[in-house]
């Protein structure tokens, strides 16, 4: 189910890009990531659909058919099953989705994201977009627009997406100081605010760029479009440099985009020699990229001066217009925000959009507001009341239960007359009768005893309420 509605198909259906989706471990999602049968981060339900579906649909809608999913070893089987169920040849004939474990063919590259990419670089034949499994893009942002921006600039090796976060999420995400040229959309630096020392130490060659803007308004969406040759660069680095794309490779590329030394050093790798005719065309072309740095006679005799910087990094800024923010669910705040956003959408949609459960499973005396969803196979007892809730599949909601603003995953049991407000109940949670629960998050398999009164707790299976 795609809540955001079907995206427009492009005239050209496929474009030569590979999408690399990195599935992480979901470290920041406590308590949802602790307990028995924790689903993979990629399988976290968002409006009763695993988040990975949103991401894959977004990628496929842009015409990118080659998708490489890199998943933690423990999640391989569940995601593999999920893919065969939902993205088989029969439903997505042209999609070529490959699934690899992080650990597959592990050598001495280390298990960092860059190391993983280095290991699987033979599977990536074209320029590629690297994206996390946990993004929920706003409706006005299509992946193809990002890729187009990348393609439109011949010298761009990296296009990174920055987004303006929803106010509720801002504090829980990593804040960054970004240096860029807003007029041209060039990106020069991403620096974590937390890592700042007393002074921000900037190079003069950065400072002296015209139109330099520093901003803390945006966050890093972790969507990066890379030129294929970046993989060659990664391959040339020693393993210790390959822990993280975000912390090592991306900052380096950004740095190299304006530092002459790195720029020329990496130019051979990033800009492998083209044939002379292409080069001639390039120099003859009147439509040179905008960032012309005048020939400043860098070397005396010979050596024609470069009239353009050989490569640069750029950015796309995603503003949160009309409250439609890009959201990442790598934290509880993000997950909450996304669910709230979905519920807002639901209330605006007609009830027919909701999955119709089996009629006899829902008591006719239950009150279910139109901005709630109930997954298939779930039962709702008499006089139960659901407002602004997302309820997963095969849940059992007993009679007299009152749910407000809750996110309920699959296989949850809520016994009689429990009142729950603003809570996330992940799969297999059981709430005893007459419990009163407010502002809580429960990990998978948590059991709240009868009559429990809980407020503002984060609990996992095995913990006493």
């Amino acid at each position: 189910m795609d809540i955001s509605g079907p995206s427009k198909r492009r005239a050209i259906d496929t474009i030569p890009f590979t999408a690399v989706v990195l599935v992480g471990y979901g470290e920041n999602l406590y308590p949802l990531n602790e307990g028995p049968n924790v689903p993979s981060k990629a399988m976290m339900p968002v409006g009763n659909v695993p988040i990975i579906n949103h991401v894959l649909d977004w990628v496929l809608a842009s015409g990118v058919m080659d998708i490489l999913l890199l998943v933690p070893p423990k999640d391989h089987d569940s995601i593999s099953n999920h893919l065969t169920e939902n993205y088989s040849r029969s439903t997505h004939a042209r999609a070529r989705i490959q699934l690899k474990r992080h650990s597959d063919g592990e050598g001495n590259e280390g298990s960092g994201t860059a190391g993983v990419l280095k290991r699987f670089r033979h599977l990536i034949k074209s320029d590629f977009v690297l994206l996390p499994c946990d993004i929920y893009p706003p409706r006005n942002l299509s992946l193809s627009s990002i890729l187009d921006r990348h393609l439109a600039s011949a010298s761009s090796v990296l296009t990174a997406v920055l987004y303006e976060p929803a106010p509720a999420v801002k504090d829980s995400e990593e804040k960054i100081l970004v240096a860029m040229d807003q007029a041209k959309g060039h990106l020069f630096m991403i620096q974590s605010l937390e890592a700042l020392e007393e002074d921000v130490n900037l190079r003069m060659s950065l400072i002296e760029r015209p139109h330099l803007t520093l901003t803390t308004r945006y966050l890093d969406a972790h969507i990066y479009v890379f030129r294929r040759t970046v993989l060659d660069l990664i391959a040339s680095r020693p393993p210790r440099d390959l822990d993280s794309m975000r912390e090592q490779i991306v900052p380096w590329l950004l740095k190299g985009s304006w530092q002459k030394g790195l720029q020329s050093e990496w130019n051979n790798i990033l800009n492998p020699k083209r044939d002379l005719f292409a080069k001639a065309l390039f120099y003859a072309s009147a439509s040179k990229p905008l960032d012309i740095s005048l020939p400043s006679s860098p070397d005396p005799d010979g050596q024609p001066p470069h009239s353009t910087r050989p490569w640069h990094c750029q950015t796309i800024l995603v503003s949160g217009k009309q409250g439609d923010h890009l959201i990442r669910i790598n934290s509880l705040a993000g997950y909450w925000e996304l669910n709230r956003k979905l519920i807002r959408h639901l209330s605006a949609l007609t009830p027919s959009r909701t999955t119709t459960p089996m009629p006899n499973a829902i008591s006719s005396s239950a009150q279910i507001s139109p901005d709630s969803v109930i997954g298939e196979g779930s039962t709702v007892g008499d006089r139960a009341s659901l407002k602004k809730c997302i309820v997963g599949r095969h849940c059992h909601i007993a009679r007299g239960v009152k749910l407000t603003g809750c996110v309920v995953w699959d296989f949850v049991t809520i016994e009689e007359n429990a009142r729950i407000e603003n809570a996330i109940l992940s799969s297999h949670v059981r709430v005893g009768d007459k419990a009163a629960i407010k502002d809580c998050e429960f990990g998978p398999g948590f059991e709240a005893p009868s009559g429990a009164i809980l407020k503002g707790e984060r609990l996992i299976s095995g913990q006493e309420a």
Binding site: D199, E208, P210, L212, T213, L214, K260, L294, D299, P300
Partner: protein, 762 residues
């Protein structure tokens, strides 16, 4: 002056003032500092204050007052230091006293702008409820400053703690005095201000993190405004501090409270910005940014005469009519005095005599009653009144005041020549020379570049009265040697020497812009365009003067075609330097001087010949290489090389902030000396084993394009490449040997490596 024109202007001003009643209620006040509190024009200011020096034959004060009267200023306080009587006389006789209330305030004790403001505060002449315009240096502007006052007042409405708005201009060429500002664009508030001298070029800038970590609510974006870089590619150019501030009365009061505020930027602005205690804010106003409101404006040209460099630039701008309607032919009182011919050639209508074959290449200006002779060629210059120039004299990009006589067959390039100077026949003035009022130069005198000649002797700033003040014999000889016997005048020490002696102790205290090495670039005629292109010149702060022998990169010619920015090749080092330096080296080597002593001697030579330390290092490495014996087996060569480097390497090290340059020099030597060629790798090893050049610099050398022979003459290219291969082999081995230790902080090393690469190719 014809009063009619003035009156016409006065009514114009009034009608404009009526249009804006907000400003009309309270007369707008301006404070002009007549004194610069620095010594940049000193040699020209023996008889008159800087603010009365003519620019395009109009005193700078007139330009300033004209700009202020355009800006609807009603009351002007001219704050005078030296020559206050001259300023007073000028004001008495000037037409501006009919349209504005001009008062001259003088203080002999004010030694800085901060002092001046304190005095001003004590005099309590300023309206405490209304902001005033503070003009630091003479202004040439057709911009209406009252717009800036309005903008200031609008901001003040929103932010009660705002005490000052600094004027900032856009564009212009690279200037050694450009600051870096961090500005919050939503409120135009200045968050950070750093002086950014061109040399020593800071490679990094520290901005306090608190700006980003604890911003005022709602602020999450900052613009970084910096000056135009030396080799800018941008069409818009960078930002300039205009030295025009809209100040509330709190500003002088704050200066009174903080008696250690002297420089308004370095002390006052930074003091206010960094002090949370004061709780005051400073805003910036970008000239022209108010245009969006659709108001018509006079113009947006605004610049100030800060030094001889800007003096020249602004003169050209005036001649090129950027300051319209303030141009020589149209400016108020002198309307009709000049005839504008094609090519922006302005010639006074009053008895100018031109020879039949006089060549005039505009833009230029020739004052009344001046006489040019046959074959005289004037290019992009201004000549004052009553000047006479002899036949076949060529004057290029020079600014000549009144009553100057120049003989025949002279060459004058990028000079400023004071009032009443007499120059004999066949005189050659190097570029950047400043000749003070009343000096006479005899026939055939040739002045080196950037020489300053004054009618009276130079008085160092901190000279005690009881110290000997007589010209000693040595100095006299030097004077006679250069100026000859017919000349009247004294040679002033070059500007960089002037402060060199005492600058060591209070380096931190000294204004970074006034440090000799940066100050040098404030001079007319200095080339900036290629400043940052060479690792040597950049890191060593010297003019790129290294000879062809030292590094291949120095062969670069500036591709700058601007007439006032000739290529660096003109900055050649006199051949005497080579002789002196090698003699000194031989002496040191044979007599076994200590390295610091020998180094001191070399440095003195570098200073004396303005040679640049790259050249000196080239000499040193060349000399040391020539002392090595390349005849024996490899082991003995290595031993000898290591010994030589260990004993004498300090010389080269002391002359090179960047050790890779030593390697490059060695390579350059080996290219030109066949016997050394096979042993290049061995010499490198010697460099390493004598602990002179550490591994990271060798690795860095390996990454330099210059090392690969890029930029070398074609015939030598192969040799460079060959030597590079030899050296690389050694460095590779070295790196492999202890790559473990090196790997730890490669990123950092990368940072450093690129830093120099960057400077090299920037």
């Amino acid at each position: 002056m014809p009063p009619a024109g003035k009156r016409a202007q006065a009514t114009k001003v009034e009608s404009k003032a009526r249009a804006n009643d907000e400003l009309d209620d309270t007369p707008l006040q301006a404070v002009v500092f007549a004194d610069s509190y620095n010594r940049r024009f000193e040699v020209l200011c023996q008889d008159q204050p800087r603010i009365l020096l003519p620019l395009c034959s109009v005193p700078l004060l007139t330009w300033t007052l004209e700009s202020l009267s355009l800006s609807r200023v009603k009351q002007v306080f001219i704050f005078c230091g030296a020559h206050a009587d001259k300023v007073r006389d000028f004001v008495e006789s000037s037409p501006y006293r009919y349209t504005m209330d001009i008062q001259c305030l003088s203080s002999k004790t004010a030694r800085s702008a901060g002092d001046a403001l304190r005095d001003l505060d004590a005099m309590s002449v300023l309206n405490p409820d209304f902001p005033f315009i503070l003009v630091h240096s003479p202004l040439v502007s057709n911009y209406d400053l009252s717009k800036m006052v309005e903008a200031h007042m609008a901001r003040k409405e929103k932010d009660k703690d705002l005490i000052m708005t600094m004027g900032v201009g856009r564009g212009g060429s690279c200037h050694p005095e450009s600051p870096v500002m961090v500005v919050d664009p939503s409120s135009s508030r200045l968050c950070f201000y750093a002086q950014n001298p061109l040399v020593p070029r800071h490679s990094r800038l520290k901005i306090p993190s608190s700006i980003f970590l604890e911003p005022p609510p709602g602020v999450d974006e900052w613009e970084v405004w910096s000056g135009t870089p030396a080799n800018s590619s941008s069409h818009q150019g960078g930002y300039r501090d205009l030295g025009v501030d809209i100040c509330e009365a709190d500003v002088p009061a704050l200066c009174t409270e903080n008696f250690d505020y002297h420089d308004l930027r370095r002390h006052f602005v930074n003091g206010v910005l960094t002090s949370e205690l004061l709780g005051k804010h400073i805003a910036v106003h970008l000239v022209g940014s108010e245009e969006s409101r659709g108001e018509s404006s006079n113009g947006m040209y605004i610049d100030r005469v800060r030094d001889t460099r800007t003096y020249g630039d602004i003169s050209m701008d005036v001649l090129n009519r950027w300051t319209f309607p303030l141009t020589p032919d149209l400016m108020g009182s002198r309307k009709g005095e000049y005839e504008l011919r094609k090519g922006n050639v302005y010639i006074a209508r009053d008895h100018v005599s031109l020879g039949r074959t006089t060549a005039l290449t505009g833009p230029l200006l020739i004052g009344a009653r001046s006489a040019l002779n046959e074959g005289t060629h004037i290019i992009s210059s201004t000549l004052g009144q009553d000047c006479a120039v002899g036949p076949h004299t060529v004057i290029t990009s020079s600014y000549i005041f009144d009553n100057v006589t120049i003989g025949d067959h002279c060459q004058v390039t990028q000079c400023i020549i004071g009032t009443g100077v007499k120059i004999g026949n066949g005189v050659k003035l190097g570029k950047g020379c400043l000749i003070g009022d009343g000096v006479t130069l005899g026939h055939g005198v040739e002045l080196p570049d950037f020489m300053r000649v004054g009618r009276i002797r130079h008085v160092p700033e901190d000279l005690d009265s009881d110290e000997e003040d007589e010209e000693d014999e040595e100095e006299k000889n030097e004077r006679l040697e250069i100026l000859g016997h017919d000349s009247v005048g004294f040679i002033w020490p070059s500007e960089e020497e002037e402060l060199a002696y005492d600058s060591d102790e209070d380096e931190d205290d000294l204004d970074p812009y006034e440090r000799p090495k940066n100050k040098k670039y404030l001079q007319l005629g200095r080339t900036l365009s290629s400043l940052s292109e060479y690792p040597e010149s950049c890191s060593t702060l010297s003019v790129a003067s290294s000879s062809t022998a030292s590094t291949p990169a120095s062969l670069a010619a500036s591709d700058d075609s601007l007439p006032d920015m000739p290529s660096l090749a003109l900055d050649a080092v006199p051949p005497e330097f080579h002789a002196e330096a090698s003699a000194s080296l031989v002496r040191a080597y044979e007599e076994g001087h200590s390295v610091p002593n020998a180094l001191l001697e070399l440095r003195t030579l570098v200073m004396g010949y303005n040679a640049g330390i790259d050249r000196a290092r080239g000499e040193v490495t060349g000399f040391l290489m020539s002392k090595m014996d390349f005849s024996g087996p490899a082991a003995s060569i290595l031993e000898h090389a290591t010994q030589t480097w260990a004993r004498w390497g300090g010389l080269a090290e002391g002359l090179s902030p960047d050790l890779t340059n030593i390697v490059l020099d060695v390579q350059a030597y080996s290219v030109s000396h066949e016997d050394a060629r096979p042993w290049f790798g061995v010499v490198l090893r010697g460099l390493y084993e004598s602990d002179l050049v550490p591994e990271e610099d060798l690795i860095e050398w390996r990454s330099l394009s210059a090392a690969k022979g890029e930029g070398a003459a074609d015939k030598d290219k192969a040799l460079w490449g060959e030597l590079y291969a030899k050296g690389k082999a050694y460095v590779d081995v070295l790196e492999a040997m202890d790559s473990d230790s090196e790997e730890e902080d490669e990123e950092e090393e990368k940072g450093e490596e690129e830093e120099d690469d960057e400077e090299e190719s920037d």
